[in-house]
Every structure is written in C-alpha cells, then in structure tokens.
C-alpha cells in the first residue's frame, strides 16, 4: 500500500530521485566529525519548532514580556520544556556551528570548489550570533537588559558609524519598548527569512559538490 502510494506520487513528482540525491548520495569514507553540520541543522529545526510554539504566548511588550515569559515557564503545561529546549538549543547552536567550522578548517574543506559553501557558512555563523543576541533581550529581565546594554555599546565603538549603529539597533538612545519590538521582529521574521534562504543554498551546495574526504598525509 505504502509502496503503491509512493509510486503514484513518484510518477507525478519524481520524489525518489530527490530522495536519492539527498539521502543516498555517495560519500567518501569519513568520521564522526562530519556529522556536525547535520547536528547543527537538527538543532536549528528544534529552535524553529520551539520558537514558533513560544510565540503563541510571548508578547514583545515592555509591560507584559516578563509576565508572559513567567507564565510560559511556571504555569503552562510543559512550558518549561518548550522554553528550556529553546534556551539550551540556542547555546547548542552556537557550539555546534563553531565545531562544524573548526572541522571544515582542519580538513581544508573550504578549498576549491567549495569556497562559496564556506562563504554562506560564514554568513550563517554571523546569523546564528545575531539570533543569540536578539533572542537574549526577549525575556526582558535584568540579565537581558544589561546584556543588551553591553552588546550595543560594543557596537558603538565601531569607527565613524558607531553612534548611528547603536541608535539604529536600539531604536533610539536608550533601551525601550521600541528596542524590544524591533529585536523581536528581527528574531522571528527578519533573521529566520535570511536563515532559511542561506541554509537552502548551503545544503544545495553540499549536495551538489559532494563532501571532502579526510585529507591524507602530505595533502
């Protein structure tokens, strides 16, 4: 039955060819370090799912943000789990993305013909940091507030455009409701849009170019 349905769908979509290209492609003999990219992808999916669930209750309003986070954590069934996964998943993302990059550097996997994969990867690294930075403010507690003060002051020391950069990030001179709503907008709309586009390109390139083998002595 399942095979029949699969055949019916395959005749109309050719999904088996896509499945083969993605999951059954030929790869060289490799080691566990090569799973770091997939692990990052997996952590990203967890972040997307739990993040969407959090938006069902979270409100980016200076009067209510903290109360809504507290409601999620302390009162909703499994709210602690959903928020906890998102919280720790964020750290896991940064960790995995850095380890993934270290593997690529160590094995020289950024070389021809994979330079463009590397470039999209660097963009994805910065994107991951941006997610972490914007998401950190959203619980709207003391730690969130002061982390954003420090973070935006780091941006302020940028030569020439520093002051403007900080004002644009904060939506004014000080952290306010405007900061909260624009960090929220960035965190749930702007960054995810760019992320999905870049991840799509990144994975397409990995599949198209194949993955590198572990370098041998003298390579």
């Amino acid at each position: 039955m399942a095979t029949k349905l699969g055949n019916w769908l395959n005749e109309r979509s050719g999904w088996r060819a896509a499945y083969t290209a993605v999951f059954l492609r030929k790869i060289p003999k490799i080691n566990w370090a090569y799973t770091l990219g997939s692990a990052t992808l997996f952590a990203m999916i967890i972040q997307i799912v739990t993040g969407i669930l959090l938006t069902l209750y979270y409100v980016p309003d200076p009067q209510l943000a903290y109360a809504s986070v507290s409601y999620i954590t302390n009162e909703l069934p499994f709210g602690w789990l959903i928020r906890g996964l998102h919280h720790w998943g964020a750290s896991a993302m940064v960790l995995l993305v850095v380890l993934h990059m270290v593997r690529v550097i160590m094995y020289g996997a950024y070389k021809y013909p994979r330079e463009f994969t590397w470039i999209t990867g660097v963009a994805l690294l910065l994107l991951t940091f941006s997610f972490g930075f914007t998401g950190y403010l959203l619980p709207w507690d003391q730690r969130a507030y002061w982390a954003t003060v420090v973070g935006t002051q780091i941006g302020e020391v940028t030569p020439v455009v520093g002051d403007t950069l900080r004002a644009v990030m904060l939506g004014g001179e000080e952290i306010s409701g405007l900061t909260l709503s624009r960090f929220y907008g960035a965190h749930v709309w702007v960054l995810p849009s760019v992320l999905l586009l870049l991840v799509g390109i990144h994975i397409y390139l990995v599949i198209r170019n194949g993955i590198t083998s572990v370098p041998k002595r003298g390579e």
Partner: protein, 183 residues
C-alpha cells in the same frame, strides 16, 4: 527505471546469493545493514518528534483547561445592610485572570430579602441591550432608560422589549456576608 533500481529497497537489490557479500551485509539474514540503519534513523526521528510533539499538544491546549472551574462565589457585602422589602444595589470588584493578564470588572447586583434570611440577587443589566436598570419606587420595578422597559421586583418583564427576565445569581450567607455566584 534504471536509476530507480539502485534504490535501497530490500526487494530491489540483487539476491544475496548472487551478490558478492560486502562488509556489513549478512547474506544469511534478510535484513541488510542499510535497511536496519534507515529503520533505526526513522524510529529515532519519530521518538524525538514525539518528545517535542506530545508536550506541545498540552502546551497549546493549556489555557483551555484552566478556563473550567471559574464560577466562584463572590462576596458582595454584609447581610445586615439590607432592609427587608427594599432593593439594595451592591457592588463588587471581580478579578479575571487570563494567562498573565488580570483584569478587574465591576459587578453590580440588586439584593433583596423578604424575611432577612433568604436573599434574591438580580443583575442590574437589562437583558435587551445591556443598559443598566435602576429601581423606581413609584413603579415598584426596575426601569431601563434605554427603551422604557420595566422589570418587576422578581425580575420578570412587565413592559418593553426585553426577551427574558433579569439574570439571577445564586446566593448564600456566611458569617453575615452575602456571596453571589453566576448560575
């Protein structure tokens, strides 16, 4: 079709007897290493999806379950302040919680008693369009200024467009205090 025949479906692979046994393939067993791994990955993915998915159902349904036992007794005032045979307007502030938001609402109730022991509590909201009614002694009834409706002392419609009598509340007296509850 040539491309398809290379897919890892057990039945499509050459029979174990013809194929040269490769590392990891057990020629005596129908389950190939590949099939085992694919199944394993599938089972683990399903388990992970359930770990997030099942709690998510409770998480999404959370506030709907809270809404249940909401009709609590509300204290509206002292029983001794009500004179027999008169209508006394009593007010209470009701707190309503919806998740992290608490809103307050004014509840106004006409309370009367014939014998000082049994109390009748009527809402002061007209059942026609929600205007506030007031007690008018000359008419011995509640008067709604919006469409000149009149309700009797028991809440029954005497005149005008209201479709049903004034809403009644359950009442009880504890330690000299009157409590009302929505029916």
């Amino acid at each position: 079709m040539a491309e398809e025949s290379s897919r890892p479906n057990g039945s499509d692979e050459p029979s174990a007897a013809e194929a040269k046994p490769k590392a990891g393939d057990d020629p005596d067993n129908g389950v190939s290493r590949r099939k085992l791994l694919i199944t394993g990955v599938g089972v683990m993915s399903g388990a992970i999806a359930a770990t997030v998915g099942v709690p998510a159902i409770f998480y999404v349904a959370g506030p709907a379950q809270e809404a249940g036992g909401e009709q609590d007794w509300i204290r509206i005032g002292s029983a001794s302040s009500i004179e027999t045979g008169t209508q006394t307007l009593m007010k209470a502030t009701v707190e309503r919680r919806a998740g992290y938001l608490t809103t307050t609402e004014e509840l106004s109730v006409f309370v009367s008693t014939e014998n000082g022991a049994d109390f009748v509590a009527l809402s002061n909201i007209c059942t026609h369009l929600g205007c506030r009614v007031r007690w008018v002694d000359e008419q011995d009834g509640f008067f709604c200024p919006c469409h000149n409706a009149i309700f009797g002392p028991d809440g029954a419609v005497l005149q005008g467009p209201p479709p049903r009598p004034l809403d009644r509340f359950d009442t009880k007296v504890e330690d000299g205090q009157i409590f009302v509850r929505k029916i």
